[in-house]
């Protein structure tokens, strides 16, 4: 039964997340442009970009890169499917990390020095956000009493009440996970602050299109994690959750446009400090009180 639910969830996520993620990305680009005093591209520009990439000639430095990226995309869809079908949050966290690792392996497999710098930085990013993301799962378990996301539907209070500090810590690493400046070390959407094109340097055409679709799905999943903190038994809480998610998305765009990229040392240091204090203190309080 559970497996069936996950399969249905994954298929539904595979259809809905790219659409939603594409629109979110289009809104991101328009709002970014307005913040810079520009008009910006049409709302469906990310969709046009991906369709264009699919039209390009197929060129790859090796045969395996495309397969790794396909795996990364599939595992992202699975992680989203598990989460949105109400499955285990912990499983969703592990599988999305697996997707990130496939992405890194794809970049390493090309043996391009620029892609390798991007891959190294992506590994450091995983190192920076992963402890906090695991604490999110632990904090969620302690607040709701289950790793199953569906448990929020019968919870008397939302997770944010007991795991507020964990949520704050997660907000900090969310900027890394969404690949927004100042933490877009491995792959920036802005050419002016990138070494060739970071982790995607050697990816082109349909492979790059898959990377874009993967980012859309990732964004939807991570915003789902944000919303999860605000849902409880009351059906009206969904409205609050969606409002918070949209506000967080706007905040990320604002941060993206206002900060220059930091060095990786600063990212690693601050994300671990915040993980230790925000996550650690919250979990200690939940454990001993």
């Amino acid at each position: 039964m559970d497996i069936l639910l996950i399969i249905i969830g994954t298929l539904a996520f595979a259809v809905a997340a790219p659409i939603l993620g594409c629109l979110l990305s289009g809104i991101d680009r328009i709002i970014s442009a307005r913040m810079q005093g520009r008009v910006g591209p049409p709302l469906l520009q990310p969709y046009y970009d991906v369709r264009k990439l699919l039209e390009k000639d197929r060129v790859s430095v090796n045969a395996s890169e495309g397969i790794y990226i396909t795996c990364a995309l599939l595992f992202t869809l699975l992680a989203g499917g598990i989460f949105f079908s109400g499955g285990s949050l912990l499983m969703s966290v592990f599988i999305i990390t697996l997707a990130a690792l496939f992405f890194v392996i794809a970049a390493y497999s090309t043996r391009s020095p620029y892609a390798e710098i991007g891959a190294n930085r992506e590994i450091i990013q995983v190192l920076a956000y992963e402890p906090m993301v695991l604490l999110v799962a632990v904090g969620f378990f302690m607040a709701i009493g289950s790793f199953d996301v569906s448990a929020v539907l019968s919870a008397e209070t939302p997770a944010i009440v007991k795991a507020g500090l964990v949520f704050a810590g997660f907000m900090f690493v969310l900027t890394i996970k969404l690949r927004k400046s100042p933490f877009d070390l491995s792959y920036s959407h802005h050419a002016h602050q990138e070494l060739v094109k970071g982790i995607t340097t050697e990816m082109s055409g349909s492979t790059l299109a898959k990377v874009e679709i993967m980012h859309w799905c990732e964004n939807v999943l991570f915003l789902g994690w944000v919303g999860m903190f605000f849902v409880w038994a009351n059906p009206l809480s969904w409205i609050i959750a969606i409002a918070v998610v949209l506000f967080v998305w706007f905040l990320e765009i604002l941060i993206d446009n206002n900060f220059a990229r930091v060095k990786w040392q600063a990212m690693l240091k601050w994300s671990w400090i915040i993980t230790f204090f925000a996550g650690g203190i919250n979990i200690m309080i939940l454990a001993y009180l």
């Binding site: 520009r38 008009v39 910006g40 591209p41 970009d49 060739v196 340097t201 990816m203």
Partner: protein, 147 residues
Amino acid sequence: MSYLTKSPWVIHYDASSCNGCDIEVLAALCPGYDVERFGIINTGNPKHADIFLVTGSVNEQNIHVIKEIYDQMIEPKVVVACGVCACSAGIFHDCYNVIGGVDQAIPVDVYAPGCAVRPEAIIDAVVQGLGVLDEKAKALKAQKKGA
């Protein structure tokens, strides 16, 4: 109509330009002209680019670089020569080390003369390049079907 015309990503290379045209190329991306309205993005990666904007003339030092960037770009692709130096080497045409315009190194699709080239002229040239890009995309599709 091909989606290529809705999302042309450009790569910009400064051959031996005086920087006048480079500044105008970047000015086209700024709020005043905002070419992102047409989906145009400046990328630093030839493998992601559809349109190659070259400023300045070709000389013995940079001819290999221009050829290398052009070869790394993935079909369908278009080359736009920005500024009179890129078109025909301009006032540098009889310098001892200058070979000539960009067309001495790679096939050029659109010429945008001017010293320095106006941002409006660059946008016009890119839009003209989109037509060429569309034709090339159709040719590539037909070629794939035939194969």
